[in-house]
Amino acid sequence: MTEQDILDLFTRILRDLLGDDSIVLTMDTRRDDVDNWDSFTYVNFIAVAEMELDVKFSVTDVESFENVGAIVRKAQALLA
């Protein structure tokens, strides 16, 4: 999957989780940039991303992702 494929998937997931179709994620998006992306929704987002991509992030990774791009790159590495 390309970076853009994963970004599109992440955007769709977060739109569903937050019920907000105006969300568009970029590699630089941080949690603070998105309204209501609180800590529960973050865990929920990681859970759905893992299910949809069939990958598993470590708790260390999940705590250290600084922006969406970091999650995308990690996902790509796990998928490779």
Binding site: S39, V43, M51
Partner: protein
């Protein structure tokens, strides 16, 4: 307009909810559900549900609402603050009391209850250590009932303890795994004493594996005790209990016979030919379904049969087959005929005097299932797997018959229904089949038997007993001779529908009459019972008449020679416009028919022609 639109939207969403949905799909469906306003919701029960949890439960809410939708419940859900269940329940001015739930679901973890018990504790001290938690639950339950006026559903404790001693854990009273198991025992007794309902998460996790239910990452990251991927199942389990409490559980299991209750087709294979019982894995798989049905009947679920069969042949199996576990007397409504199954289910519901929404319809044939889903959406239709080994799991796993009590009346019920139904065994009911047949998108490949068709054609000629007016048997070589003969017309028909290719399902062999060269005799016509009621006999006759006319044939002659199994085709020829002749074959009950091809009106069918 404005009142019906949300109701229709709701029906559509409910139809979606009946499919197996993963976590994200569940969230999406709930999102759509929350956009519909429910001023009008005929056929749905509204219930206000509060969830109080000791762990994060936000992700369970959409799943519970979707589970409810699947079972005819419109749930309005209040979720308490994380870990605040005591405070909210004890403080009558809390938002919980303002919400005013009818049902309270308590989802608690075992951590607190087992935390104070030392590893070195003895058996009795272990119980004493757990007792305060049980006492507290008693107190919370009665508070919920008296002050909140809500009924209570208590979740059993998920046993997430890792092995400490290994297998020896069970023999160490204070080991965490054993303590949680014991806590669940004490909880079950306490709940029974207080008539509190359980949501048995512990059992579900044993059945499906703890890893399905618990994900340590989610626990560490957000204190989610139930893993998000298990949320759809959790929601369904919760909804089952709430629905059962409201009398929305199913009441009657309707079983197909051929390839459902036994392996094979009794009309073709005969009593000795069907596969059932010990000695064959396939036979035991079908027997297992019977055993499960029998157990259901012993707990008060009504059993019915809905089968496309000759009634006498079907009943004979119940009476005469030594491996039959279910007896005719176990079946409260027994419908075996050649009518449409939707009409037959309506008849069964009427005979038993229960609603169609109380029926679960179990049939191995995907076309029959589709027919029922389409015309009677209120009937539950499990998507039976192809492998009969999985039938019981499929029916049991869907939770149609969730109960909240087991009484003496339950035990007697099946019997009562059986006697009521036998009083009014009358039928005749028809429903327009057009929509169904059209939705099947059937196509037929019709034409002369080709080389590749020979083996299957000969097999069909020799195996078919029901749709077989003459029951002539021919070897492969004989069939080959008919195919090679200029004066014969040997046709085969392959039927496909939107569920797939049914394969070569009908063969017709027409031979020249020795005295009249322009008359063909329908020596053999066989059709697989898989495709009865699909109009294939009409389309096949259309094809035969066309091809015969091209050869200058004037008429068809056809015999009906009755056997114990071919009653289904007794009226075949008159229904196709054939006229009786006086010179019947010398067999009791036999008849001979003639059709002048110029008089034949091609029949309209929902089957399209494709190639040859």
């Amino acid at each position: 307009m404005e009142t019906s639109a949300p109701a229709e939207a709701l029906e559509r969403l409910a139809a979606v909810s009946r499919h197996r949905l993963d976590y994200l799909q569940t969230i999406q469906l709930e999102r759509a559900l929350s956009r519909v306003s429910f001023e009008e919701a005929p056929g749905f029960s509204r219930v206000k549900l509060a969830i109080l949890a000791s762990s994060t439960a936000d992700h369970l809410v959409p799943a519970i609402r979707v589970g409810g939708l699947r079972r005819g419940l419109l749930l309005e859900v209040y979720l308490g603050q994380y870990g605040q269940y005591r405070q909210e329940l004890l403080d009558e001015s809390s938002p919980l009391y303002q919400f005013g739930p009818q049902v309270l679901l308590l989802s608690l973890g075992a951590h607190e209850a087992i935390a104070g018990t030392p590893l070195t504790t003895g058996l009795e001290d272990a119980d004493a250590g757990l007792q305060p938690s049980i006492d507290e639950l008693h107190m919370l339950w009665s508070k919920a009932r008296e002050a909140l006026d809500a009924s209570v559903i208590q979740q059993t404790f998920l046993n997430v303890a890792e092995p400490l001693f290994g297998s020896y854990d069970r023999q160490v009273p204070g080991s965490p795994a054993r303590l949680v198991a014991r806590l669940n025992e004490l909880l079950s007794e306490a709940a029974a004493a207080d008539s509190v309902l359980l949501l048995d998460l512990a059992r579900a996790s044993e059945r499906e594996g703890l890893d399905t239910w618990f994900d340590i990452s989610r626990w560490l990251q957000g204190k989610l005790e139930i893993a998000p991927q298990a949320a759809p199942t959790y929601g369904d389990l919760a909804a089952r209990v709430i629905a059962a409490q409201r009398g929305l559980s199913k009441k009657c299991l309707v079983l197909d016979l051929d390839n459902t209750m036994w392996g094979g087709v009794v009309g073709d294979d005969g009593l000795e030919g069907i596969v059932l019982g010990e000695g064959s894995a396939r036979g035991e798989a079908h027997l297992a379904l019977q055993r499960y049905a029998k157990q259901l009947s012993q707990r008060g679920i009504i059993l019915a049969v809905c089968s496309k069969n000759e009634p006498s042949i079907a009943e004979d199996v119940f009476r005469d087959h030594p491996e039959m576990l279910l007896k005719r007397s176990d079946i409260a409504a027994f419908v075996a005929n050649w009518n449409d199954k939707a009409a037959n289910l309506e008849l069964i519901a009427k005979q038993l005097n229960i609603g169609l929404d109380s029926l679960v319809f179990v049939d191995d044939n995907p076309a029959e299932r589709a027919r029922i889903r389409q015309s009677l959406p209120m009937v539950a239709v499990p998507e039976l797997p192809e492998d009969p080994a999985k039938y019981v799991r499929c029916v049991a796993g869907a939770g149609y018959f969730e109960a909240v009590a087991f009484t003496a009346e339950d035990v007697q019920r099946a019997e009562q229904y059986a006697s009521n139904a036998s009083r009014q065994a009358s039928l005749a009911s028809s429903q327009s089949l057009d929509d169904f047949l059209s939705s099947l998108e059937m196509t037929v490949i019709a034409g002369p038997i080709q080389e590749v068709d020979l083996t299957r054609s000969a097999q069909l000629v020799n195996k078919t007993n029901q749709f077989n007016p003459t029951t002539h048997r021919y070897s492969l070589e004989e069939v080959q001779q008919f195919v090679g003969s200029e004066s014969c017309l040997a046709l085969r028909f392959r039927l496909s529908d939107r569920f797939g290719d049914n394969g070569l399902v009908s063969v017709m062999i027409l031979r020249p009459d020795p005295e009249e060269a322009d008359v063909l005799d329908i020596d053999t016509w066989v059709m697989s019972c898989r495709v009865f009621g699909r109009q294939l006999e009409l389309e096949a006759m259309n094809v035969a008449v066309e091809l015969a006319k091209q050869r200058g044939i004037r008429a068809f002659r056809a015999d009906y020679i009755p056997t114990p199994k071919n009653r289904v085709v007794r009226e075949l020829y008159p229904n196709l416009g054939f006229k009786p002749t006086p010179d019947a074959p010398p067999v009791e009950g036999a008849s001979r028919w003639i059709l002048a091809l110029d008089d034949y009106e091609p029949r309209k069918t929902y089957i399209a022609r494709e190639g040859s």
